[in-house]
């Protein structure tokens, strides 16, 4: 079993929901990101989505846009993100999914990327602007490298298409909780519940929910029915507000602990 499968299987046995924080690699710098990943893993993160910064993050709201800009200004590249993963892997086995946009991966070279990412210890890849219709040019090489291609489902996805995408899913499915960009609107858990339960009926693959989960309360509400909750902008904001301070790691630890407790309660 892969690290992603093992993690979800263990959580299922305990009837727990996976806590999936998102942070942008290189914000405020690569060394700090390594510390942040370890802090998250030690305080309750079950899987981590690591953002690969892109100059034109079309699916992101202002918080993650700004994080991408800071990361790029700090000199973050695909190569450095992969080195970061390899370095973290020496003592930390939390599943890591790289999340971002297709162009940096395409430019790096799809095969070269798959090989290097697998060697570094990347478990999954989620490319926001690469729908299944265009993923053919990368899915084969990722499969060969043992990296799961994470698929997004949206509130606008029609039932027949949802069925098809869910059936082909690997790792976990990421349900986008609202029509919008990341971190900009409050969610309504009751609407999401129906959609997520519907998807769960179509697949054995766990279903995570993200976009708009900002508080421990949100996480708890969504955790009632989802197999995983993704918290992105809220964490990125804490990192931005505390970058350079010795309070950064303690504050992130407190935030993630509270989220996890909400999911356990």
């Amino acid at each position: 079993m892969t690290r992603i499968e093992t993690t979800f299987a263990a959580l299922k046995k305990k009837q727990e929901t996976a806590l999936i924080p998102f942070l942008t690699a290189g914000d405020p710098d690569i060394t700090t990101t390594a510390k942040l990943i370890r802090t998250l893993a030690e305080n309750g993160a079950d899987l981590i989505e690591l953002g690969v910064p892109f100059s034109d993050p079309m699916a992101d709201g202002p918080t993650i846009q700004a994080a991408s800009e800071r990361a790029l200004a700090a000199g973050t590249t695909v190569e450095k993100v992969l080195q970061l993963v390899a370095e973290v892997r020496t003592d930390c086995q939390v599943p890591l999914v790289l999340m971002g946009y297709y162009n940096p991966v395409f430019r790096y070279g799809v095969e070269r990327f798959a090989t290097a990412a697998a060697a570094a210890g990347v478990d999954g890849l989620l490319l926001v602007d690469l729908p299944p219709e265009e993923a053919g040019e990368i899915s084969g090489v990722l499969k060969k490298a043992g990296i799961a291609m994470i698929t997004l489902l949206a509130p606008t996805t029609p039932p027949e298409r949802m069925q098809r995408l869910a059936a082909a899913a690997e790792g976990y499915l990421y349900y986008v909780s609202m029509t919008g960009v990341t971190g900009t609107q409050k969610i309504t858990p009751d609407d999401i519940r129906a959609a997520v339960e519907n998807i769960q009926g179509m697949t054995e693959v766990p279903v995570g929910v993200g976009f708009g989960i900002t508080t421990a309360e949100d996480a708890k509400a969504v955790g009632e029915f989802a197999d995983g909750v993704v918290v992105g902008s809220a964490l990125v904001k804490i990192i931005a507000d505390n970058a350079g301070s010795d309070q950064l790691l303690p504050r992130v630890a407190t935030f993630i602990t509270e989220l996890k407790q909400g999911l356990l309660a």
Binding site: M58, R107, L152
Partner: protein, 398 residues
């Protein structure tokens, strides 16, 4: 020659496609279906042609630029006068088409991105005509450069959003328009202004703009009894060029020449020549040539002309480049300014700075060709909007 693009998956060879977030995929599939349903529907064609004739003022004249021809002393130069369209540029051909389509689809709101403001004005104009809500996304830098067009859009009832992210130009306006669309996708139609973006946009914008080349073909047949030796048009995203080229693609004797903006020079880091100096990549929903660095981050584009100030190009142009059917050259800011002044003085036509790039290429090319050859040039827009920029460049204080 057979030329059937895009293919059923929306690709032009290896370019094009639909590289968008899942939230938008259903909207694009719906748009494709709606467009396929109307594109051969005579009622839709008739409606489209009615508004092109009676509202836009088509056909636009094909004007023999006799004095420019004599001055350059070579090939005969014909100007396709898109500058005489309602709203002053070719952009309105496409906005009429897309908004008629939006109406068929029952959408009540339209959004658009704009660089120079011509597409924003053309969208706001047609939205006003049909009583639709309209929001325009425009970079802060372009709002500064094109204050007149911003005011025109507001007079037409549109809401103008200022985009401050990134370089605050056309690329960033498109990012913000896509972000808005993803949030309001259920009731909003996105009117993309060029032959770029996810499928089916490159195809439908090309088809709506093809009226340029189709008319010119007939008009040139009447004037000269023949095809042109070359068709020349400027390229930002490339919609006026695609509209000019497409009806000639199967006429192999016609050279197709796209003119990119070289800004301060393609050997500097201040230009917008995606084909001449870029590399394949994925941005704004399509795979195409992009200005980008080694790590796949999009570079800033630069051109004196706001309408060409974009780091990508329509995917069909990328394909035409690769198969060698079209040639792509570039013209600097200075060359465009010189052409702007020359056409103004010699023909009494003030071209848009975008179109001045095509004229500048003609000034290089025409003298090298024999007098019996014929050049078709798309004069894509008029230059009223650029007067302040040109005055600045000439160090004139208005």
């Amino acid at each position: 020659m057979s030329y059937q693009f895009p293919d059923e998956r929306g690709h032009f060879g290896e370019y094009g496609g639909r590289y968008v977030a899942e939230t938008l995929m259903p909207a694009l599939l719906e748009l494709e279906e709606a467009y396929n349903a109307v594109k051969d529907d005579p009622c839709f064609r008739e409606e489209f042609e009615y508004y092109l004739k009676n509202y836009v003022g088509r056909p636009s004249p094909l004007y023999f630029a006799q004095r420019l021809t004599e001055e350059l002393g070579g090939a005969k130069i014909y100007l396709k006068r898109e500058d005489l369209n309602h709203t002053g540029a070719h952009k309105v051909n496409n906005t009429v088409g897309q908004i008629l389509l939006a109406r068929r689809m029952g959408k009540k709101k339209v959004i658009a991105e704009t660089g120079a403001g011509q597409h924003g004005v053309a969208t706001a104009t047609v939205a006003a005509l049909f009583g639709m809500e309209c929001e325009i996304f425009m970079g802060k830098e372009d709002i500064r450069r094109q204050a007149l067009n911003v005011f025109r859009m507001k007079l037409l009832g549109a809401k103008v959003h200022e985009c401050t992210s990134g370089t605050a130009t056309l690329k960033d306006a498109m990012n913000d328009a896509l972000r808005h669309w993803v949030t309001h996708v259920r009731d909003t139609f996105y009117v993309i202004g060029t032959v770029a973006g996810p499928h089916p946009y490159p195809q439908l914008v090309r088809d709506f703009q093809s009226v340029i080349g189709e008319e010119a073909k007939v008009q040139l047949q009447e004037a000269e009894g023949r095809l042109p030796d070359a068709a020349i048009a400027c390229i930002g995203g490339g919609s006026n060029a695609m509209g000019t080229f497409y009806p000639f693609i199967k006429d192999r004797s016609v050279r197709l020449i796209g003119v990119e903006a070289a800004g301060l020079g393609v050997d500097t880091d201040k230009h917008a020549a995606s084909i001449s100096a870029g590399a394949p990549g994925v941005l704004h929903g399509n795979k195409t040539y992009l200005l980008q660095d080694e790590d796949g981050q999009i570079n800033h584009a630069h051109s004196i002309s706001a309408g060409l100030d974009y780091p990508g190009v329509g995917p069909e142009h990328a394909h035409l480049q690769d198969i060698g059917r079209a040639e792509y050259v570039s013209i600097t800011d200075d060359e465009a300014l010189e052409a702007f002044q020359k056409l103004t003085r010699i023909e009494g036509i003030i071209p848009a700075l975008e179109s001045a790039h095509a004229i500048a290429e003609v000034m290089k090319l025409a003298p090298t060709l024999p007098k019996e050859q014929v050049l078709l040039v798309c004069l894509s827009g008029r230059g009223d909007k650029d007067i302040h920029t040109v005055a600045d460049a000439m160090n004139v204080d208005l």
